[in-house]
């Protein structure tokens, strides 16, 4: 192929690109995945039985906003990492800040808990399944997000994969929060974050193979 011919072909078939095309693509992939995850939660696990009463407790909303804000910051970082020459930048500080804030809250909770009850406060009754259920619920979101990223152009591939994975995990955790009836900050900090980190690791592991362009 002669380069001049290639240039002629590419410019003759040019179509306009909508503004915010990157964001749009992510919303399509990730959004479709989230919808599937939500349906899986609904059909397979169901919502927590005490949902109506739980919305009156502050821990319900801590869980809601912890997962949601992590997802938003991490997807924001993903959107930036999907472009050549862009850095993840301050959205990652947002992620760190949210985790630190919950760490502080967890420390407070532990300080006000008698020593012999701390283990129970930390482990709850579902710690052995929580991270894995979050990881499973994140799978459709993960697939959708990576589908989106494949049409984009991340140059720091492994970082982009890790952040996109973590973001998918955080959104999966937000959906799982409609099911999870644990009520302590330490549980949330350790086992929810662990679930997200698992998905982040998976993202980093497949990034080189999947996100190459």
């Amino acid at each position: 192929v002669k380069t001049d011919d290639l240039i002629a072909d590419l410019s003759e078939t040019l179509t306009p690109v909508p503004r915010h095309a990157v964001l749009l693509r992510l919303v399509q992939g990730t959004g479709a995945g989230a919808l599937v995850s939500f349906l899986i939660l609904w059909a397979w696990l169901g919502f927590r039985p005490d949902l109506a009463q739980a919305v009156d407790t502050s821990m319900y909303w801590v869980k809601f906003f912890y997962t949601l804000s992590l997802a938003l910051f991490a997807f924001w970082a993903t959107e930036r990492l999907a472009r050549p020459s862009s850095k993840a930048g301050w959205p990652l500080f947002g992620v760190a800040f949210v985790i630190l804030a919950l760490t502080f809250l967890s420390g407070m909770r532990m300080m006000h808990t008698p020593a012999d009850e701390r283990m129970h406060v930390l482990m709850g009754h579902s710690s052995h399944v929580c991270p894995f259920l979050i990881a499973i619920l994140s799978v459709p979101i993960f697939i959708g997000t990576f589908w989106s990223l494949r049409a984009l152009a991340p140059t720091r591939t492994v970082l982009a994969g890790a952040v996109a994975g973590f973001a998918s995990g955080a959104l999966g955790a937000w959906i799982y929060a409609f099911r999870c009836d644990e009520t302590t900050a330490p549980f949330l900090l350790v086992f929810f974050t662990l679930g997200m980190a698992l998905v982040g690791l998976a993202g980093a592991a497949i990034a080189r193979r999947v996100l190459r362009w």
Binding site: V1, V17, R83
Partner: protein
């Protein structure tokens, strides 16, 4: 450099809006920039392949350029990514050919038949339309124009299709080694 940045950026913005003439001027200018960039870093033949690779990448990934940002860093990030990808590919290819050298020299009877069989196996990994295009253009010697007319597709679709198909094949050839090494 500053003048070039302003000019390239306005052409790119026009291109994103769908201005074909501006886009053509842009790609021609970028072809020059890329040729200079690559010819200093790889051999002459590889350089022209890389220019085309980078132009196709710039075209298919153009949505990732944010018009709020300067254009040149984006351009060089794409060019650099394609360069690193190329070098990695090349290194892997060299490693593979050394390892397999013994096997290659051992079997040299009816080389042509074997080659044809290998080719069929390789091509089988591609989806049918791409397979047919590569066969017609790269083996039977049709021009892309003729292949496009036969397939009832645009010429650019044919070219991009062939380009991607060949890339898939070279990924396949690199096999496991490449995957471990990234």
């Amino acid at each position: 450099v500053l003048a070039a940045e302003a000019e390239l950026k306005s052409l790119m913005v026009a291109g994103l809006a769908g201005d074909k003439a501006a886009y053509r001027v842009l790609l021609t200018a970028l072809g020059e920039v890329l040729r200079r960039y690559y010819s200093r870093r790889v051999g002459r033949d590889d350089a022209e392949d890389l220019v085309q690779d980078a132009l196709i990448a710039i075209h298919t990934r153009r949505a990732t350029y944010d018009a709020q940002q300067p254009f040149t860093p984006w351009l060089y990030a794409v060019a650099r990514y394609k360069l690193l990808d190329h070098l990695r590919r090349k290194r892997v290819r060299a490693a593979v050919s050394l390892d397999d050298a013994g096997d290659l020299f051992a079997e040299d009877e009816s080389e042509a038949a074997l080659a044809r069989r290998d080719l069929d196996i390789l091509l089988a990994a591609l989806p049918e339309p791409t397979r047919a295009l590569i066969r017609q253009v790269k083996i039977e010697g049709l021009t892309t124009q003729e292949a496009a007319a036969q397939a009832g597709r645009s010429e650019i679709a044919v070219r991009v299709g062939i380009h991607r198909g060949l890339k898939t094949l070279s990924d396949k050839l690199r096999g496991k080694d490449a995957r471990e090494d990234g």
